[in-house]
């Protein structure tokens, strides 16, 4: 208590000296006081923000109002462009089958690609004999009504069963877990 009182007496003596006798000190004191207003930063805890993750740069998206077909709906390609002689014959038969029969008898194949498309793709990737054998195996598997848990699915509900699994070339076999969904695009 005594020390505090002594400090107060010194302070008042000093202030009296500054205010009454020393102009320079007065000026310095005002200057310090004025600027000390500006150097008190705000001290505040920063808030927690919920944030999303943008792990890749992205730009404007061109989305459409229109109803879109499911990405994995199979499209029929009737064109004979780019086919060699054998391919033209095969594709012509396929086109005729699709036009006169397949497009009329409804959706009977539970697979994607459909059996006829599978056959075309199988022959294009291998040869007519191996392609026919692959198709025969596919046709047999299509007769199985209990294939629920064996194949992954595509967006429109068909079972995903690509040609690459059956070419007997191990390096192109890409396993997709059954019951998962596949985007064939």
């Amino acid at each position: 208590m005594k020390a505090l009182l002594k400090f107060k007496k010194w302070l008042l003596q000093d202030l009296y000296w500054i205010l009454n006798e020393n102009f320079v000190m007065k000026f310095i004191l005002i200057f310090i006081l004025l600027f000390s207003i500006n150097i008190f930063p705000q001290v505040d805890k920063f808030r927690q923000y919920q944030d999303t993750t943008d792990w890749q740069k992205w730009g404007k998206a061109n989305y459409s109002y229109q109803h879109q077909e499911p990405a994995t709906s199979e499209q029929r390609y009737y064109s004979l462009k780019g086919e060699n002689f054998g391919g033209t014959i095969l594709k012509s038969f396929a086109d005729a089958y699709w036009f006169f029969i397949s497009d009329v008898d409804g959706d009977n194949c539970s697979f994607n690609p459909t059996c006829s498309s599978f056959f075309i793709q199988a022959v294009q990737r291998t040869n007519i004999l191996q392609g026919t054998l692959m198709f025969a195996d596919r046709f047999t598997r299509d007769l199985n009504l209990f294939k629920l848990n064996h194949y992954p699915r595509v967006e429109d509900g068909h079972f995903y069963d690509p040609v690459s699994l059956y070419t007997l070339n191990r390096s192109v076999i890409k396993i997709t877990p059954p019951e998962s969904f596949v985007n064939t695009e």
């Binding site: 000093d14 310090i32 930063p41 047999t140 064996h150």
Partner: protein, 286 residues
């Protein structure tokens, strides 16, 4: 005079807490960029954090920031950039060991197992007490077709708790439960559909058997009734289903074996993720 000086000193000590006064005015100051980057890093906004940290580094060198940039890229799967940044950390930095770990981890995660093994073998530090990279080194063999090192060498870096699991993986890699393609073909040749049942496709095997059998009966029945044309049609169908079933059995065995390998690698990756690839967790955000 002394009390006045004390008073002035008090004001100044209050007025300058920790940071540079220029922070207050400029949210794009270097220290504010780092503050913001730290916040983004802890909020998992890694790409933004990395870009902000890179901005910061254009003014100041900071090895922690370099390391965090590498970590950010590693966490978003951009392993080539992660590797680039981990490589920049100098040997005399406090993060050099961690950077080395993360460099090799990124190389591993990028799937470049051969280079991972090659660079690791070239860079083994003598008396290196860190066994974790050794573990990753041996794990890389699970993802390639190279012959595995002897079992004892393989198990050496792992502790007792880990040994059981590693042993299981080792066993699955050296003796995978593959199905024989030849066996499937022979079985289907003898009994249509049996090759498919052997490879686990029971439904398909039964259908193949029924289809072949039914066509056989119909062919026999039609020939017996002197309906030769139909008899030959059904005979053709027998050949169709029979040959298809043999081919399908071979393909089915291959798919089965590919599935074994796929499941094995998935299980290994799951285990590695659970162990964080044998690298420590960092507490930058605590």
């Amino acid at each position: 005079m002394i009390p006045t000086i004390c008073l002035v000193f008090l004001f100044f000590s209050q007025a300058f807490p920790q940071k540079d006064s220029s922070d207050y005015f400029d949210i794009n100051s270097t220290s504010n960029i780092k503050k913001f980057a730290d916040y983004l890093f802890c909020a998992d906004d890694y790409l933004r954090a990395a870009l902000e940290y890179e901005k910061y580094l254009s003014s100041y060198y900071n090895d922690t920031v370099e390391f965090k940039i590498g970590l950010s890229y590693s966490r978003i799967g951009n392993y080539s950039k992660a590797i680039e940044w981990f490589n920049k950390i100098k040997n005399n930095s406090g993060f050099s060991n961690d950077a080395r770990n993360e460099y090799f981890k990124s190389l591993f995660q990028s799937g470049d197992y051969y280079n991972f093994r090659k660079y690791y073998s070239e860079n083994i530090v003598n008396n290196d007490k860190i066994r974790n990279l050794d573990k990753l080194f041996y794990f890389s063999y699970f993802f390639t077709d190279d012959e595995l090192p002897p079992r004892n060498d393989f198990l050496n870096p792992f502790n007792l708790k880990e040994e059981n699991k590693i042993n299981e993986f080792y066993q699955r890699k050296t003796n995978p439960p593959y199905k024989s393609v030849a066996a499937a073909v022979i079985m289907s040749s003898l009994i249509p559909g049996s090759g498919k049942i052997y490879t686990g496709q029971i439904g398909d095997g039964i259908i193949a058997a029924i289809a072949t059998g039914l066509c056989g009966y119909l062919a026999y029945d039609n020939f017996k009734a002197k309906h030769n044309f139909r008899g030959w049609v059904f005979s053709g169908l027998i050949a169709f289903f029979y040959a298809g079933n043999i081919y399908g059995s071979a393909a089915s065995a291959q798919i089965y074996n590919a599935g074994i390998q796929f499941n094995f690698q998935n299980d290994v990756k799951l285990y590695l993720n659970q162990q964080n690839y044998f690298t420590p967790e960092y507490d930058f955000c605590k």
